[in-house]
Symmetry: C2
Subunit: 332 residues, 2 copies
Amino acid sequence: MPLAGEDRVRLQTLQEWIAPELASLESEIAKLLHSDLAMLEEILTHVSLGRGKLLRPTLVLISARGEERAPADAVFAAACVELIHTATLVHDDFIDEAETRRGLPSVNTQWGAAAALITGDYLYTKVFALLTGRGLHDCMRSLARATHAMSRAEMMQLEWRRRMDLSVDDYMLVIRNKTASLIESSCEMGSFFHPDLRKHHAALARFGRAVGMAFQIVDDIFDYHGDQESLGKPVGGDWREGRITLPFIAAWNAAEEGERQSLRKAVDEHPDPSVLWPRVREFVDEHRGVEASYEAARRFGSEAKEALDLLDGSPQHEILSTAADYVLGRLH
Amino acid sequence: MPLAGEDRVRLQTLQEWIAPELASLESEIAKLLHSDLAMLEEILTHVSLGRGKLLRPTLVLISARGEERAPADAVFAAACVELIHTATLVHDDFIDEAETRRGLPSVNTQWGAAAALITGDYLYTKVFALLTGRGLHDCMRSLARATHAMSRAEMMQLEWRRRMDLSVDDYMLVIRNKTASLIESSCEMGSFFHPDLRKHHAALARFGRAVGMAFQIVDDIFDYHGDQESLGKPVGGDWREGRITLPFIAAWNAAEEGERQSLRKAVDEHPDPSVLWPRVREFVDEHRGVEASYEAARRFGSEAKEALDLLDGSPQHEILSTAADYVLGRLH
């Protein structure tokens, strides 16, 4: 999604602070997204065209940067995090049968389901083989935990598809595993390379987890209330694909039993969820589901900043606080 | 596949030598194949019904066993190898659109493609999270390399499907990555837990690699010349699914150019490979593709035994030699 003016500035502020590392990161990622196998090389070239904003590796590098430039291993670990994120998106698109990703055809659309599965597996295992080969055991442990959490979240989403009475707790469990886990791992992992912050790795993990929760809730709000044009995709995708998210859950919990029953009846009568999208959106508006979600995101934003208290005095204190503002700021 | 009398005896010989470890292995595997997520628990229960012969974890435990019983970590590592193997089969079945596995519906058939992808990811990452959590870094490195090799092989197979002029070298590259890598890793990994064999881990890896090559060639021979009844599945599956294997390659290389052109023309005219299977089988028979493959398997068997020379004097020397005989013996 293109960023509004203020957010662009915030992300730039973060990324300028680690400008030298970021340049190395880009070439490290480019180097990793290659293969001697012709079809894989084609797929990886395609995937690298649809570049994201590098939020996760940015967080690794921010946590890693001391008075000196972050070491080469930290840049490498940051690139690994981006590759893992990329692998997840390739598998996700296949699971959701998504036709496009960042304006380009998805791997499953262009090369088929089998190629999408194998590309994801290839990227995951390449990262693991390289990390262990370099002896970066702490990073490996952190990423193994994060990727396992993500696979659990995928299974929850599959099992709980279209479950209209999904609880807030179950929703939080999904997004903690799906999104917060890798952002948590990114923030924690960077500190492994920092002489003074290493002892605060748990605080950085807590910060990353809370920021990750806020990040996903903001994404889920966009899907109900975003500007289709600046979002680059139509709203309502979550509802259509059966993902029940916080705006809906909050509205559901605020509605009267009669309204719920009437909505459930309408859903049972219309197997195609697109038909009901206008009504669902109205339901969420009426019961202030977006406002409640916004409140939740803000609470996670505050929690993230509190986790930074231990870092008082380090430049990370201020710069990560800006990162939290950036994540929430996307809401305006 | 049910084993013939002599082979059953050989596998029993191997497994009796590690009987106490094997009992722990079975309960370790059973413990790992559980989840608190309802659908995943269902899938894992189903998967564990279609139990294999535990060849890979048996090799881990044989390499690990010293004068004392192999330590708990070795049993755990052996269980991890079996889980990785299981994950590979679940992803394989999805890639090949296989409907059954070991007489039961495949995960993709019963729960759908998305569930198969997620189950595989879940098992891979569970193993990695547990191994790193326990600090078994050497095992993690070995398994990361093996799983990465396997993903490369999947991509080669996808890219080289139906390539009738596949070279022997490219075939060997595929099976080395697809099959030999995990058997190599199993033999090597066990030695990490053995006080005296640890220094011979490279020899054990070489043994495992050669045994793995022989194992896959024997499998590929069965697909041309097996007994359908004892195989439990119809022959010709590789040809139908576009996997060009050694019996065909050897025949192709032995045939005259005119015969090749005539076969290629027939393939171009019949998009359904099943139609041509009787002719392909005849072609392979006529040009003695099975005999040539058998020779290749035997060479790898000898290579495996040579790798054991360094282990002379240890009980592993004899027992692993029996393992090599078992793999080749399946041919009779």
